[in-house]
């Protein structure tokens, strides 16, 4: 009877522990995946814009080349436009370089998500392994000890997992980052 009074709270602790830790880690997974989606979306949008702009600029340069090859001379306005095109292409190339870095950032986010998912899987496997040690004939006291062991292991593993997946990418936008000289 006394054992039942201890058994039920231990079981309750285990169930809420599994639920809370699972929820916490899966919420982080969701946040990281949403962040990855946002970065990818913005990077691709900006890359497409830059690609179209570079394509237009290159076409204008080709028109000028065709004009020269046909023996005609470009007007002052056309010359000025060509000089500006070079700078414009440079700006778009810089934008491409900035936005191509999405690959580095999203890889780090995905790595973190994978580590967390693998860690969660290991925690659940550990629960199962500990549970498997329980014999069908285990008495109330033994079950209490097992539950105690499982609860402690669950808390420890969950904390260890949290420590192993430190957040290193906080960016939600592909704007270039700060520079600080010490």
């Amino acid at each position: 009877m006394a054992n039942n009074k201890i058994l039920a709270p231990q079981l309750k602790d285990l169930l809420s522990g599994v639920s809370n830790h699972g929820n916490q880690h899966l919420l982080e997974v969701e946040v990281d995946l949403l962040q990855t989606t946002a970065l990818l979306g913005e990077a691709i949008d900006k890359l497409v814009t830059s690609f179209v702009s570079i394509h237009k600029a290159v076409n204008i340069q080709q028109e000028a080349l065709d004009l020269l090859l046909s023996g005609k001379h470009p007007s002052e306005e056309e010359i000025k436009r060509l000089k500006n095109i070079h700078l414009e292409i440079g700006r778009h190339v810089n934008a491409v370089i900035t936005n191509m870095q999405f690959q580095d950032m999203t890889t780090q986010l995905i790595d973190r998500t994978v580590k967390r998912v693998v860690g969660l899987r290991e925690v659940l496997a550990s629960l199962g392994n500990t549970g498997a040690k329980m014999l069908p004939e285990s008495g109330g006291e033994e079950i209490i000890l097992f539950l105690n062991e499982i609860n402690s292991a669950l808390t420890a593993q969950s904390s260890e997992l949290e420590g192993a997946v430190r957040k290193v990418v906080s960016q939600n936008k592909m704007d270039s980052g700060d520079i600080e000289l010490f």
Partner: protein
Amino acid sequence: MSKTILAVDDSSSLRQMVAFSLKAAGYQVIEAVDGRDGLDKAKNQTVDLVLTDQNMPRMDGLALIKALREIQSYQRVPILMLTTESSDEMKAQGRAAGANGWLVKPFDPQRLIEVVKKVIG
């Protein structure tokens, strides 16, 4: 003679972007795939500037900086961190390790060139 920059990052695409940007500005660039590779290459040839990521396998950026600062010829070579990390705590660790500056990714090529010119000319 053009100045040489050691670019250390475990991301191949990031190294390509850095090399492309800096070479366009006239610098020579040596690439390293992580801190350990960076340290080996730095020992083989003294460079004018080290630009390193933080989170890398085998040896991270902070460990690389500390190791470089223990080498006589690298005690005064400027070292800049180029990383996704932006917390004050990490910057303080970088500064304490011997970094001379902190650049947060993604970098803009024009701004990168400006800061490199400011540091090594």
